[in-house]
């Protein structure tokens, strides 16, 4: 049992390490996600001429639109890299539980998304003159990103098998990610507007439940999704 766990973790982190090393060299995925995110918040900044109160009302929505779209770019690219040179077959041929591939890719995707968020948050704070560095808000961003990546990695593995993968992923992902996006927007808005913690807790619970459910579903079904 311990040996199985060790093999599981070794393979999972081998994938994470490989993804980070490849991305460090190419910076393809990270740069496209970051540039896209910065452009979105810049466009919103000029499009919405807002006073301080209105600004705090739209902040949560603008933030999560940015994270969701940038995340989709990253999810698509991350799995396409595996498919284009046949590397997904290379991973599937390894004598490890195939859920290691899911967890490895999901952790890498989460790291890329969090790095982009770490850069976007201070830029957003400056542009919109809003303090986003609140522990509660950061927790919501982490939970929301985990949920988004959990379902997104599963669906990107499905979409990458098709010829219309770039179009298919958002079509599959956004309807399924609606609960996590609504909960994240509501919880983020609650923290930004200084709502009672008891009001926000419901949304945080929803985020936690969503994360657990989708990680469990992906663990169970990833093998069937990637096999012909």
């Amino acid at each position: 049992m311990i040996l199985q766990w060790r093999n599981f973790l070794r393979a999972t982190f081998a994938i994470v390490r490989k993804d980070l090393a490849a991305e460090w060299r190419s910076r393809e995925l990270f740069s496209s996600m970051l540039v896209f995110s910065l452009l979105v918040i810049l466009i919103f900044n000029f499009a919405l001429e807002l006073d301080a109160e209105a600004r705090s009302n739209v902040t949560a929505g603008v933030l999560w639109v940015t994270f969701a779209f940038a995340g989709t770019l990253g999810l698509n690219r991350s799995m396409a890299v595996e498919k284009d040179r046949g590397c997904l077959d290379g991973l599937l041929l390894a004598p490890v539980d195939r859920s290691t591939i899911y967890f490895g890719k999901a952790i890498s995707n989460l790291i890329f998304m969090l790095v982009v968020e770490v850069i976007v948050l201070p830029v957003y704070s400056v542009l919109y003159n809003t303090n986003l560095f609140q522990p509660g808000l950061l927790l919501v961003i982490l939970l929301g990103s985990i949920g988004y990546v959990a379902v997104g990695t599963l669906l990107s593995a499905m979409a990458v098998q098709t010829r219309t993968r770039d179009v298919l992923l958002p079509i599959l992902l956004f309807p399924l990610a609606v609960p996590v996006l609504i909960a994240a927007v509501k919880a983020s808005g609650g923290f930004l507007q200084g709502a009672e913690f008891s009001e926000i807790l419901t949304w945080i619970n929803l985020l936690v439940v969503y994360d657990v459910i989708f990680i469990a579903i992906s663990f169970m079904f990833f093998d069937y999704i990637v096999e012909e």
Binding site: R10, A21, S26, D89, G90, L92, L93, A94, E227
Partner: protein, 245 residues
């Protein structure tokens, strides 16, 4: 080493493999010949546990697919016409990654040994995307033999290679076979497989229609053997004697 019985594979309404039977003994080098669409790649993907059959039995090195897929994969090395390598990693990093996935002990020595074998030791620190197609294919073989598998599957490994690269690849293939591994290779290149394989099987319309051992035939007769096998299979199919799915 490999036993396949009554294998059927369907993609929707299309039947690709129609009750295929196949047997390979330990140490044999079998060339699987056949026209485009015969089902060669699909068959190899099933043997590699990348695809699930609709019906039939597959046993490799005493383990059944798909129930004991992880045990089969541990004993299997696969080379396809795609290199299955990461262009943004060096040759060394690619092998190290796959070494971790396979849990290879004493990885440093094994990687050096494999890179020497495929003639890429001087380029081990170079990014794979800077390699020629031939070098990538040699590294792909290195990746496939890294965990010292008992069975090797090659799916048209010569595709897209120039003459020199093909000859270099053949040298590596001979070395792989000389180490006593069981090899199944699909190919369109009859002349090249005639030099390499110890047995030739012809796959047509999802079934093995002919099989001959190297010692039963001169290498220059392979083309006529192949054409005759396909003609006979076509006649049988026209007369309705073929196996219905």
């Amino acid at each position: 080493m490999i036993t396949v019985k009554k294998l059927v594979k369907r993609f929707g309404p299309k039947v690709v493999l129609r009750g295929l039977d196949f047997q390979v003994d330990s140490g044999e080098f079998v060339a699987l010949l056949g026209p485009n669409g015969a089902g060669k790649t699909t068959f190899l993907r099933i043997l590699a546990s990348l695809s699930r059959p609709a019906m039939g039995e597959v046993q490799i090195a005493g383990f059944h697919l798909p129930n004991q897929a992880a045990a089969v994969r541990r004993r299997l090395g696969v080379v396809s016409h795609m290199p299955l390598l990461y262009g943004d990693l060096t040759a060394d990093e690619n092998l190290r990654f796959y070494g971790r996935m396979y849990g290879i002990p004493e990885m440093e020595n094994r990687i050096s040994e494999v890179l020497e074998m495929v003639g890429l030791a001087p380029r081990r620190r170079d990014l794979v995307r800077t390699f020629s197609r031939g070098m990538q294919q040699r590294l792909a073989i290195g990746r496939a033999v890294l965990h010292d598998p008992e069975v090797m599957l090659f799916d048209e490994p010569h595709t897209g290679l120039d003459q020199d690269a093909c000859e270099m690849l053949d040298t590596v293939l001979r070395e792989v076979a000389a180490r006593g591994r069981t090899v199944v290779m699909t190919s369109h290149d009859l002349a090249r497989t005639a030099d390499l394989a110890s047995r030739f099987d012809v796959l047509s319309k999802g079934k093995i229609v002919a099989s001959v051992k190297r010692e039963q035939m001169n290498p220059d007769q392979i083309l006529s053997f192949y054409k005759n096998a396909l003609e006979q299979a076509s006649t049988i199919a026209k007369n309705g004697a073929g196996v219905k799915p």
